[in-house]
Symmetry: C2
Subunit: 200 residues, 2 copies
DNA sequence: TCTATTCTGAAGCAATCATTCCAGAACACT
DNA sequence: AGTGTTCTGGAATGATTGCTTCAGAATAGA
């Protein structure tokens, strides 16, 4: 049962990370409820009992998949926020988002939107988790803006909360645009337009 | 079976529109796959066979519900586009959207996003329908912008397709903001910020 | 009243859902 | 080699899925 620091017994025979990657991609595309355990056993190439032993129940597996997503796919946002100046931060935020959304090998939208927007009451935990992820993103942006404000890069007249929500809105909008089928070129132009209207 | 112009037989004993309204609200909140027939029979206060006779299968009922949504809830967009000047159109588009999203008695996001973002392969028709709805919205906006261009209200240097996508992105972003839990006051301020950056 | 038509509610359909159980296989340690 | 522990795959769990069927109730027109 414990998969952490076991010392004896039959060792795991599959690549835990590869299996989790497959699960993540499936959840990303079909959402929590749209993905069945049968789909998962198929894509992960594992029996249900192995999945349960390694990751817990479906909800727990979803959490693990979301964590993997945040660590291996959503780092572009963190990287953007680490840029030295506000202008570079904002530019990177949009450019990285476009690059991410139009990347190959995964669904054309961010997982926090496709994961569980509308879902049954049973799946409420999954939906709440997605909302938390989006909110955490906003908080990260806000903190970076507060830094920029301290550095004198952001006018004191600008309400940081409002500005945060505005940027968050723009980025979410980009994701929906991609889900609508916008091409990479179109998305780039849209992001450029957003930057232009932001004054960058 | 036919519910249209029947002349004899036992008449329908329930309020068709009220039943459809209940179904729409449920689909809106939980999405196509998150809503079971049991949920629907409960909310619509009808037996499954009555629903099938009146609206067809679940997918067909979903289509009817979406149509009702478009007719009774999403008219604010059409109304906004009917404003006489471009400035009024844009302002109305944002203000109406905010009023709509923060309205009481329905989920805090637009149905085209909660209806079926991530879903199983079986529910692909529902997802495609939602994408079509979003695209149709874009087309409507684009046509209005082309009108404005003819009227000389929009600079010829502005690419109408880009501008359409930009506005569409902003409006979609507002919907996500509401899903994140933004209050009415916050959403208003965000929309105002968007208008300001648009030059209005 | 009689007949034709349609709606209703309950029961039942096979399929699928997430989950669990179990016998056996595979390895680590002694 | 023997023992203990853990993993594995398949089968089975009961509940729920969307959907259908059917006998009977209800009404319209003759």
């Amino acid at each position: 049962m414990r998969t952490g620091t076991r010392k004896t017994g039959r060792p795991i025979s599959f690549d835990r990370e590869a299996a989790l990657e497959a699960a993540m991609l499936l959840f990303w595309e079909r959402g929590f409820e749209g993905t069945s355990m049968a789909d998962l056993t198929d894509a992960m190439n594992l029996s249900a009992s192995s999945i349960y032993a390694a990751f817990g129940d479906k909800q727990s597996l979803f959490s693990h998949a979301v964590n993997r997503y945040l660590e291996t796919r959503a780092q572009y946002a963190t990287e953007a926020l680490a840029e030295p100046t506000l202008e570079k931060v904002i530019r990177a935020l949009f450019n990285n988002t476009v690059a991410f959304l139009t990347g190959l090998g995964h669904p054309p939208t961010c997982m926090s939107l496709s994961g569980a927007m509308g879902c049954s009451i049973d799946a409420a935990p999954a939906r709440n988790l997605m909302t938390e992820v989006r909110k955490a993103n906003e908080v990260a942006i806000k903190n970076r803006l507060l830094e920029a404000r301290k550095a004198g890069e952001l006018s004191k007249e600008i309400n940081v909360d409002d500005y945060t929500r505005y940027i968050s809105m723009l980025l979410a909008g980009l994701s929906i645009q991609t889900a609508n089928g916008s091409t990479k070129a179109e998305l780039k132009r849209t992001a450029q337009l957003a930057l232009k209207h932001l004054g960058y």
